[in-house]
């Protein structure tokens, strides 16, 4: 039924797909900004999405963060004791949690949970004409569905990261207390003594980019998903992969920039 296209591929099939995906993302983000800044604003829907994204991911993020904090300390404790640096456990755990583990784990978990959720939801809405129905009802689906979700992820991932950091520190404290007897006050004193603004601010800032990436990728892949349930499933899958890789690349870039600015 479809006639044969004149040019089959520019480079190769997979490379073409890759560049096409990048172009798609770029175009989509341009649209998001263009549509997003024009009134009317969908505040109610933003709140609704914040609830869906923030509160419904809290337990998952919290449990993971706690366990990772706990495991981090339990794993590194023997080595640090061996080097006679047992008293550096709180400082070590706080810096690794605040700088890296908290933001990254939150972002990766959310890329899995929220990214795939968004793209499956938008994909199925697209396939079942719900997006068309919205447009017909005088609602710009780009504003109502896409901009709100991206804004919500951009705002909620940082909040979740703050929770993840604290919960993870509590996990690390629990981990220290399995073998040692450390009191809370002493522990958290050491934790905050080890931290500096240059640890907190860059790692907090990067979570906004993480959130934006997760939202953008999820929406793009969902919104542009192919017809049929297979297309929706594929979109969700690709969205998870792309947003995870995106998050890690951003993490690397931010780390590099931070170190170039002399904060590391």
């Amino acid at each position: 039924m479809a006639s044969i296209p004149k040019i089959k591929t520019v480079f190769s099939k997979s490379l073409d797909d890759f560049f096409y995906g990048i172009a798609e993302l770029a175009q989509f983000s341009v649209n998001v900004f263009r549509e997003g800044i024009r009134p009317p604003y969908e505040f109610k829907e933003v709140l609704n999405q914040c609830y869906e994204i923030g509160i419904k991911s809290f337990v998952l993020v919290g449990v993971t963060a706690f366990i990772l904090g706990l495991v981090l300390v339990m794993q590194s404790r023997p080595t640090m004791i061996e080097f006679g640096a047992g008293s550096y456990l709180p400082a070590m755990s706080s810096i690794s949690i605040v700088r890296e583990i908290g933001p990254l784990v939150t972002a990766l978990i959310c890329a899995g949970k929220i990214g795939s959720g968004i793209s499956a939801e938008l994909g199925s809405m697209k396939v079942t004409e719900q997006i068309d129905a919205m447009e017909v009802s005088g609602t710009n689906p780009f504003k109502y569905l896409v901009a709100t979700r991206i804004l919500a992820t951009t705002l909620m991932i940082p909040v979740l990261t703050v929770y993840a950091d604290f919960i993870s520190l509590i996990g690390a404290f629990t981990g220290s207390n399995i073998k040692d007897d450390v009191n809370v006050h002493f522990y958290f004193n050491r934790v905050f003594e080890a931290l500096h603004y240059t640890d907190v601010i860059p790692s907090f800032t990067k979570t906004f980019f993480f959130g934006f990436t997760i939202g953008l990728v999820g929406c793009t892949k969902g919104y542009n998903s192919k017809k049929g349930t297979e297309g929706v499933g594929k979109a969700a899958n690709i969205s998870v992969v792309v947003s995870m890789v995106g998050v890690i690349i951003i993490d690397m870039v931010v780390t590099q920039i931070t170190s170039m600015l002399g904060y590391l």
Binding site: G84, A85, V162, Y197
Partner: protein, 328 residues
């Protein structure tokens, strides 16, 4: 609508708690970094500021009072370190206070430690330049110590020859008193010994000084000492050094007596020949000196194995090897 309201209330609560945690965290970090308290500037000039960075802690007698603001070279030998001190700690710090660069724990960052100086002074003013106590160079101490040890060994050799001569009874005693040169030699050895004893005493007292500083927690080695065996080692070394110098003292005293006798010339030869106790005394002195020297050797060895000073000796050995190679 009711459901939406409930959701929004939950969301508001969620975000509020998150933000509170964040702001509380920021303030906790801030209070540890003196971001929100009033500060005033002072500075100090050091010859070496290795490891000191903006943000490094400043402690006064071990209590945190501020952070380093900047570290700048001002000429070919001096580094100026600008510090921010909490306003509330101002009245503890007098203008006579001494700043030194120290280490915060075993693997910790470098810190500036301020301690009270001698004598009374006025409260420190904004922009004051504190007197800097440049890091006590353990390398130098150890170098002196090893030289002393070498000297002692040479002297011991000399004395050994001498005693052998005395013991042999083969006329060299005569020679001893006839030959002024010999007497001169002996005298010189004695003088050398005395000087070395003083040197060792100095080293020992400077080590004692370090140890006491360490024990008072305001020395460079701060925390390590409290939980490592180095402290024990050091005090052991100290004890040994003291013994050595005591022994050297005794020996030199005895020798001095001998020479006094010899110099008095009154039946000295006779006495020397007949009095075996004198010979025995000299011998005893020799043994003492020997054992003291051996003890010193052992201490040196122990220091060599101590991980803190290992680096120094390794460097030294490398240098020697290199020198040897160059010679070849």
């Amino acid at each position: 609508m009711d459901k939406t309201l409930k959701k929004n209330i939950l969301l508001g609560f969620f975000v509020l708690v998150g933000m509170t945690l964040f702001i509380a965290g920021i303030f906790l970090v801030g209070s540890k970094n003196e971001m929100f308290s009033k500060t005033f500037p002072i500075s100090a000039k050091f010859t070496n500021a290795t490891g000191l960075k903006p943000g490094s802690n400043i402690r006064y007698n071990g209590v945190k009072v501020g952070i380093v603001k900047s570290v700048n070279l001002i000429n070919d030998t001096l580094v100026q370190v600008d510090m921010q001190i909490e306003e509330s700690k101002r009245h503890f710090i007098l203008s006579t206070a001494i700043a030194a660069i120290a280490s915060d724990g075993l693997m910790g960052d470098k810190i500036v430690n301020i301690s009270a100086g001698k004598g009374a002074g006025a409260e420190v003013r904004n922009g004051d330049l504190l007197q800097a106590n440049n890091p006590l160079n353990t390398d130098k101490v150890l170098l002196t110590l090893s030289q002393s040890n070498e000297n002692i060994r040479v002297i011991t050799e000399n004395l050994k020859t001498l005693t052998a001569d005395i013991n042999s009874n083969n006329g060299p005693v005569q020679l001893l008193y006839k030959d002024g040169a010999m007497a001169q030699n002996l005298k010189r050895s004695f003088g050398n010994l005395d000087a070395i004893t003083n040197k060792v005493l100095n080293v020992s007292s400077s080590l004692q000084n370090i140890t006491s500083q360490i024990q008072h927690g305001n020395g460079a080695l701060g925390e390590i000492i409290n939980d490592s065996s180095l402290s024990k080692n050091l005090s052991y070394t100290m004890g040994k050094l003291k013994e050595t110098s005591d022994a050297l003292n005794t020996a030199s005293g005895q020798l001095s007596k001998t020479i006094g006798h010899a110099n008095s010339g009154k039946g000295a030869l006779n006495m020397l020949l007949t009095d075996t106790t004198f010979s025995a005394t000299v011998q005893q002195s020799m043994i003492n000196i020997k054992s003291a020297s051996k003890g010193l050797d052992e201490d040196m060895e122990a220091l060599k194995h101590n991980f803190l000073t290992k680096g120094y000796f390794r460097k030294q050995a490398k240098k020697e090897r290199k020198a040897l190679k160059d010679k070849e």
